[in-house]
């Protein structure tokens, strides 16, 4: 340890880090004690693994049009009359095996969700730290922009950004750029929450002894912010991130359902449901039912986890 770090340690310990608190008995005990939470955690884990491993476990590749069974389109699931043993959950209007499509859909939903949360989180945390630490006009500008953006619901912002992005990129590339546009649009619609929370925490931490000590020693602001303040404001960020993951997944599904998200050639769960709704009245119920079930389960379990995390990390409820 450098001399500076040693001196820092002497000026009093910063609040216990997130990892230390996670190792605390109470948290693990509360996770295991609630059956719903443990079940939710397990289910979420299964879904995440299934989604990520989709290329390995799916019988067919639904994103490859050549692999579609056009002749067998609209086949019911295997366990229903008229079903085909090749297609566990039936096929859709393009002849895609629904089981594979759901797996790949899970995968892409999770990926978009994760990346957009990371993007939004990175931007939000960075801006929050800067605004909180630097103060002054930087703070005002960032917070003003945040306030204006906050008057609109995130989904509207995502929708608008999506539309503008596609307009700027010209229609012909819509399908190739869909993934990127979605991540950026959803991510940008979320940064505000992170920024606000982190800014608040930064303002609090800024005045604590260990930060004052670091400044006296002459550490650069960047070093102070990244190495000392950042770890201590991460707690609430994690909670927001979990909640946001569920929202990001829902937002992507919604945008795809509305037709401005992932196209039918690379369907996510939302796209599949959109396609399925057209066949609801004509009897091919499975195209809507199974993706819906998958989406609902995913979001529900992520939400339950987020709820548990928020309650567990809330110091006031202890």
């Amino acid at each position: 340890m450098s001399r500076a770090d040693v001196d820092l340690a002497k000026s009093g310990p910063p609040p216990p880090s997130l990892v230390a608190r996670l190792r605390d008995n109470d948290l693990v005990a509360s996770f295991l004690s609630s059956k719903t939470t443990a079940a939710a955690g397990l289910i979420a884990l299964i879904l995440i693994v299934a989604g990520l491993a989709a290329p390995l476990i799916a019988p067919t590749d639904p994103f490859n049009p050549a692999a579609n069974f056009l002749m067998d389109s609209l086949t019911p699931p295997r366990f229903v009359a008229g079903g085909d043993p090749r297609f566990l959950l039936g096929t859709d209007d393009q002849g895609r095996d629904l089981w594979s499509a759901i797996l790949y859909g899970l995968r892409i939903s999770l990926m978009i969700g994760a990346f957009s949360v990371l993007l939004g989180g990175a931007i939000g945390v960075a801006l929050g730290l800067i605004a909180g630490y630097a103060g002054g006009w930087i703070d005002s500008v960032v917070m003003r922009i945040a306030d204006v953006q906050l008057t609109f619901p995130a989904i509207l912002i995502a929708l608008l950004l999506d539309g503008v992005a596609h307009a700027l990129l010209q229609k012909s590339n819509r399908e190739e750029t869909a993934f990127l546009v979605l991540v950026v649009a959803i991510g940008l619609s979320f940064w505000v929450q992170y920024a606000r929370t982190v800014r608040g925490s930064t303002l609090v931490e800024k005045n604590r002894d260990y930060v004052q000590a670091a400044r006296l020693i002459g550490l650069s602001p960047a070093r102070i912010v990244v190495r000392h303040i950042l770890p201590n404001v991460m707690g609430p960020v994690l909670v927001i991130a979990t909640i946001n993951l569920a929202i990001a997944i829902i937002t992507e599904a919604t945008l795809s359902f509305l037709g401005v998200g992932l196209p039918a050639t690379e369907p996510s769960l939302g796209t599949l449901i959109r396609i399925g709704q057209n066949y609801l009245f004509s009897g091919e119920w499975w195209i809507v039912a199974f993706p819906s079930l998958g989406l609902a389960t995913l979001v529900l379990s992520v939400n339950l986890l987020g709820d548990w995390l928020r309650d567990a990390l809330n110091p006031r409820l202890k």
Partner: protein
């Protein structure tokens, strides 16, 4: 107080102008307006002439101001797809969206607040747990999924309610059409309004519950108990009032988002409202409609925020006092 209101109004106008400039930027610089408006056969010379006529060669500032001035008069130009004035298109569809939003708002408040209060006061009852479970589902299920679920149950399986459209509407005055006055109109409203309200309802319920639990822990509630006040007096005279004040703000803001979420509901139920129009404009890159919708939404939110701010200050005596203290 007046000074406060004036300041807030000015701030709102400021936001509107900022949004207006963004809308203008979209309008003018995303894609080429001329190319969107004319067919492929139009010659270059004709395009240049059109450009001149529309004032597209003027300095940006002039164009911006012209745009803002026109917007203030509800003139948003002509739609690329439909070749009709945007204002007319939006106007024709506004009643559908507003009626839907109105019913959904009322529903979410009328159901959400009592459920929230009940589950705060009777924390461990079976009904509370049911509400909790429902709220989790309400928050987890995306709006469109709820809609599809309702359609499956009430249209496909039971056949009770229509699954698309507004039913028969009655024209009131030169501009407004209402679905409230016909049976099919009302029937058509049920599922979309419920779908739209569900998310808000669960949000309100959770908020009211959390806020009320917080309030019930306060010292003044304990002191009220120590004075022997009855439970109903404590719950409804003291706790409820204090709960609803912060809830007003959030509820007000949420009500605005109902109009935004109507985009989804209108798509699921093929409801002929503004949301659907906006969605089509996004798919077809119809910039004038996008810009106009943006302005409309901004206006609505800004107005709602303003009203909520003023309401909040007039309801909480502490804020009123601090305002008076700010004179001079």
């Amino acid at each position: 107080m007046i000074a406060f209101v004036v300041r807030r109004v000015l701030a709102s106008i400021g936001v509107m102008i900022a949004v207006g400039l963004i809308a203008f930027a979209m309008f003018r610089y995303v894609g080429d307006p001329i190319n969107q408006m004319v067919g492929v056969e139009t010659s270059v010379a004709e395009r240049a002439q059109l450009r001149e006529e529309l004032g597209l060669n003027d300095p940006a500032i002039v164009q911006a101001l012209r745009f803002l001035a026109r917007a203030a008069r509800f003139d948003f130009g002509v739609s690329y797809q439909f070749k009709q004035p945007v204002a007319d298109l939006i106007g024709a569809r506004m009643p559908a969206t507003l009626e839907l939003a109105f019913v959904a708002s009322i529903l979410s408040l009328a159901a959400g607040i009592p459920m929230g209060v009940y589950s705060a006061l009777h924390r461990d009852s079976a009904l509370s747990r049911l509400f909790q479970a429902l709220s989790l589902i309400g928050i987890s299920l995306p709006t469109f999924l709820t809609g599809i679920l309702l359609i499956t149950l009430f249209s496909v399986v039971l056949g009770w309610l229509p699954s698309f459209g507004r039913g028969d509407v009655v024209r009131l005055g030169p501009w407004w059409t209402t679905g409230f006055l016909t049976v099919s109109g009302l029937k058509s409203l049920v599922m979309p309004a419920t779908t739209l309200a569900l998310f808000q309802m669960t949000l309100i319920m959770r908020l009211v519950r959390a806020e009320m639990l917080e309030v019930l822990r306060a010292d003044y509630i304990r002191f009220a108990r120590a004075r022997g006040l009855s439970e109903s007096a404590i719950h409804f005279r003291h706790a409820l009032k204090n709960t609803l004040v912060p809830v007003i703000t959030i509820v007000g803001l949420q009500l605005g988002s109902i109009v935004a979420f109507s985009i989804i509901t209108e798509t699921v139920f093929a409801w002929p409202g503004m949301g659907q129009l906006f969605l089509q404009s996004i798919q077809n890159v119809d910039i004038p409609i996008m810009a106009a919708y943006l302005l409309f939404i901004a206006f609505m939110f800004v107005t709602i925020n303003l009203v909520v701010d003023i309401l909040y200050v007039s309801v909480d005596p502490r804020l009123r006092a601090s305002l008076h203290g700010m004179h001079g």
